[in-house]
């Protein structure tokens, strides 16, 4: 079967091309992603550099504030002025470690006043700064507000810590300026080296944590490490490049579909063409066979017709000499002295019988060769059967049984002479089949649209081969006759649009069955 293999081919093409498209798309996507990551990493590093610079500037500012606090402890306003000169949003203070705790010794824009003791997160931060000998950072809460605190130790003398605090609102996205260098990034800044939501300082993203392609960029602030998490919110490698995997996938899938369609169409076309060729070849072969058969049939018919013509002309030519022979025999018999020569009379009788036999053969030949159409008139079947039996009475030892199964006289439209000829032929064949005697049964019956006559004997029967060739012209297994009787019968019955069939069992008997339509539409008679 070719059709299913073509469908497999289509599937192979479809999955092959689709697979290639997907693979190419994935590879491209990875390449683009790596490129994007690389660019993102560079941008995040830039962000870290910028932020780092801010804190680098913060440390000297806090140290100088510490110096002012140490040198001018009696003039707190100078501290305030110096803090304001920094022009930041933050507030500043200096705390000093005493026995009672961490005392505020200077402040600018800050809630705890001078002389107050700090506690909680601020205290821990101050201790951490002092212990770490460098800049530290942390969150403090003041009146419900979250503040980012940065502290450096020792700037206002031993045991002192300078604070800078500024209010933050980590969950509110910080707007990045549309023209800013990092507008294409979503950034989250954490106080620790891990992206923990509780340590978030600020973000430009609306939703956290950042997902997708992100990079983590550590940021060194004093002695501590902060974390910058960055993600690009637009393509960093150009929209075409980032769309490239999808373009490749789409084009690849389209190509796969197109190739599949083409392969499928071609294969279907070929399947159709093959089927058409096979169909036409088959019908051509059938036509050839029919032609050969009809040629053979024609040839057979022509041969039969030629034989018929030959038989007819020979038969006719023989009729004259036979007629003369009859006359001569008559003359010899008439001329011979009555009773004087018995042998001569016996020979004359034999000669006459043989001339009659020859005459019968010629009649059969001419019946077959002339083939006249039926001249129909109403014929009563049982009457015709009786008449036929009177013309051909049963020889000694043969019993005749008539079975008439129709209630009313069975009448058909038929050529009386021709049907009688058929009956005579069948009856005489039946007699011949029962040389040692038997029963001849002639049964008539009325069918729906036809009369049925069967002529059965209990004679020798015949084998299948004999039965099959029975109606063929010049077919005879008898010692006498030329084998035209049943051929003529068949033609007569068929010219009445009837049928003739035979059943036979060797050594059991033979039965011929005729059907004749009640009404016959007669063919035109020969002129």
């Amino acid at each position: 079967m070719r059709a299913p293999s073509f469908r497999v081919l289509s599937l192979v093409v479809l999955f092959g091309f689709a697979g290639a498209a997907v693979t190419a798309s994935v590879v491209t996507r990875n390449v683009v992603r790596k490129q994007q990551e690389l660019v993102l990493r560079e941008r995040a590093a830039e962000v870290a550099t910028v932020l780092g610079a801010t804190f680098t500037g913060l440390e000297p500012s806090l140290e100088s504030l510490g110096t002012i606090a140490r040198l001018e402890p009696e003039h707190p306003q100078q501290f305030v002025d110096a803090a304001q000169a920094l022009k930041t949003d933050g507030s500043y203070m200096v705390v000093t470690q005493r026995a009672a705790g961490w005392l505020v010794t200077a402040t600018a824009g800050h809630d705890p006043g001078i002389g107050e003791v700090i506690s909680g997160a601020r205290q821990q931060l101050a201790q951490r700064a002092l212990a770490g000998h460098g800049l530290v950072s942390g969150f403090v809460r003041d009146a419900g507000q979250l503040r980012l605190a940065i502290a450096i130790p020792g700037a206002a003398g031993p045991g002192t810590v300078v604070f800078e605090e500024s209010a933050i609102s980590p969950t509110t996205p910080a707007a990045s300026t549309p023209s800013g260098p990092f507008r294409s990034l979503d950034i989250a800044l954490y106080l620790t080296s891990r992206p923990d939501a509780s340590t978030l300082i600020a973000t430009t993203a609306k939703h956290l944590p950042l997902t997708g392609v992100t990079v983590n960029q550590p940021l060194k602030v004093g002695t501590e490490t902060w974390l910058i998490v960055a993600r690009s919110n637009t393509s960093l490698v150009g929209s075409l490049t980032s769309s490239l995997p999808w373009i490749i996938l789409t084009l690849g899938l389209l190509a796969a579909l197109m190739m599949t369609a083409i392969v499928e169409t071609l294969s279907r076309r070929e399947t159709y063409a093959s089927a058409l060729v096979a169909k036409r070849t088959a019908s051509l072969e059938t036509a050839m066979t029919e032609l050969e058969e009809s040629n053979a049939q024609l040839l057979r018919q022509e041969r039969l017709a030629a034989m018929g013509r030959l038989a007819s002309s020979v038969g006719h030519e023989l009729r004259n000499p036979l007629a003369v022979l009859m006359n001569v025999l008559y003359l010899i018999e008439a001329g011979a002295p009555e009773g004087t020569n018995e042998v001569l009379h016996r020979h004359l009788a034999t000669a006459k019988r043989e001339v009659s036999a020859a005459t019968l053969i010629i009649s059969d030949l001419l019946d077959y060769a002339t083939a006249r159409g039926p001249i129909a008139a109403p014929v009563e079947i049982s009457e015709l059967v009786v008449e036929s039996l009177s013309v051909a009475p049963p020889p000694d030892g043969i019993e005749v049984v008539l079975l008439d199964q129709s209630e009313t006289p069975l009448v058909v439209d038929a050529d009386r002479d021709q049907i009688r000829q058929v009956l005579l032929n069948l009856i005489s064949n039946a007699y011949d089949a029962m040389p040692d005697g038997g029963v001849l049964t002639i049964a008539t019956a009325r069918l729906a649209e036809a009369a049925q006559i069967s002529v059965s004997d209990t004679g020798v029967g015949m084998d299948r081969q004999t039965r099959d060739g029975l109606f063929a012209p010049f077919f005879s297994k008898k010692a006498k006759g030329i084998g035209l009787g049943l051929a003529v019968c068949k033609r007569i019955v068929e010219s009445h649009h009837g049928t003739i069939a035979v059943e036979s069992t060797p050594s059991a008997g033979t039965s011929f069955t005729l059907t004749l339509p009640h009404m016959v539409v007669m063919a035109g008679l020969p002129a």
């Binding site: 003369v324 009859m326 008559y330 020969p526």
Partner: protein, 121 residues
């Protein structure tokens, strides 16, 4: 010779001669002709009671002779071995007494001739 006069017409010598012999044996006055034309001349020359004539003959055939006969027509018995249907129909139309198909029983022929001669009286 006082029996009925019979003219036998057949181009076949054997048929003609045996018919003449048989009819003469039965007391008929028999003449014979071997063509249709000769038969017509004989019929003009003499009166016949019965004509026994083949249909198919070269030249003028039996049916034509029957159609062209003048005067008191004799009874005509036609013989045929293979006459065509239209010639048979023509023979019937021309009032042939009988048509005999060859070969025929000699006795049947004699009966027909006797019947024809009886009618011709």
């Amino acid at each position: 010779m006082t029996g009925p006069a019979v003219l036998v017409v057949d181009d076949e010598a054997g048929m003609r001669e045996t018919l003449v012999a048989i009819l003469e044996m039965h007391g008929y006055r028999v003449s014979s002709a071997c063509t249709g034309e000769a038969a017509l001349m004989a019929l003009v020359a003499r009166r016949f009671d019965v004509v026994v004539m083949d249909i198919k003959m070269p030249g003028c055939d039996g049916v034509t002779v029957l159609q062209e006969m003048d005067g008191p027509p004799p009874r005509v018995i036609l013989m045929t071995a293979y006459a065509k249907e239209d010639r048979l129909r023509a023979a019937v139309d021309a009032h042939a007494f009988a048509v005999m198909h060859k070969p025929f029983e000699t006795l049947r022929m004699l009966h027909l001739v006797a019947d024809a001669a009886e009618e011709a009286k």
